[in-house]
Symmetry: C2
Subunit: 169 residues, 2 copies
């Protein structure tokens, strides 16, 4: 799996996340509560709420695409407070991901990735993908899913995985 | 990231999982409850409990190593009921992962992966890694983490990520 495959996987998973939100909306309607209550839901008082998990999922994908291609990451301020705003955030992120082509990721494995929080140190592009981007992305995506699941949304594993390319014969 | 890198990442994350369990044990001791209560903890009544999340995390890693190398997967029956038994399960899994060498994964991308639940269909090895093994592994690892977090264990993101190879200069 190269950087381009990883970013495609992130884009697919962000599409899946929107479908979990569809199910959350149907659940809220069915139970007559305002779905935006879930925006502030969390699993522990000192943990990111759903809104921040979605923002972090998007940002892990965005920065992976930017750092590994050398393209600048667009600014997406964390201002969302509703489901429609979170959907818009996801769409903006996926749109950016689709602008980064396979060719843009040439040499990604050996790129120097120096996020500001590393304070001057850096990771090889491949190490960043393996040790940071992939675990972090799936961490936040799963936490977003877990918060909805904990609040009664009827999600199952195949909602998490989404489509996958099988072969016959 | 090739199949070998992915399996190494799974092994590292399973080592991290044992450290989350260390923190759970310290928390239980501090609060004077039996840590094995957490074995059956879950986030929703129809969701896998902690025990099953740990077993599934191990199995995703085990089957990825087996399917992508062509080595038979050892049988690890789901009999664990305590923290020490779950640690033993993790150790057995990681031991198996370390027996599969980089050479064993030669040609992994093009291997036919046909898990029984696909009912005769199959995935290319690389598609299996990208679309099934990686998302599934991190899904269950994060759920195990989330269940502990929800029950008051003081875990932070760096506990999830563990060590990573930075460079200087």
């Amino acid at each position: 799996m190269n950087a381009h495959d990883a970013v495609q996987l992130f884009a697919k998973t962000l599409d899946n996340l929107e479908k979990w939100m569809d199910k959350a909306e149907a659940h809220a309607k069915d139970r007559s509560f305002d779905v935006d209550v879930l925006v502030q839901a969390r699993l522990a008082p000192d943990q990111y709420a759903f809104v921040r998990q979605v923002q972090a999922t998007c940002d892990q994908a965005k920065y992976a695409a930017a750092y590994l291609s050398g393209k600048p990451a667009p600014s997406h301020p964390d201002t969302e407070q509703t489901f429609p705003e979170l959907r818009e955030r996801i769409r903006k992120c996926v749109s950016f991901l689709t602008t980064v082509s396979e060719k843009d990721f040439a040499g990604a494995d050996e790129r120097k990735v120096a996020p500001p929080w590393l304070g001057g140190r850096w990771l090889r592009g491949e190490d960043y993908l393996v040790h940071m981007a992939i675990p972090n992305f799936f961490f936040h995506a799963t936490m977003a899913y877990a918060i909805l699941r904990h609040n009664g949304v009827a999600l199952g594993k195949m909602d998490f995985i989404g489509s996958f390319p099988t072969q016959e014969g």
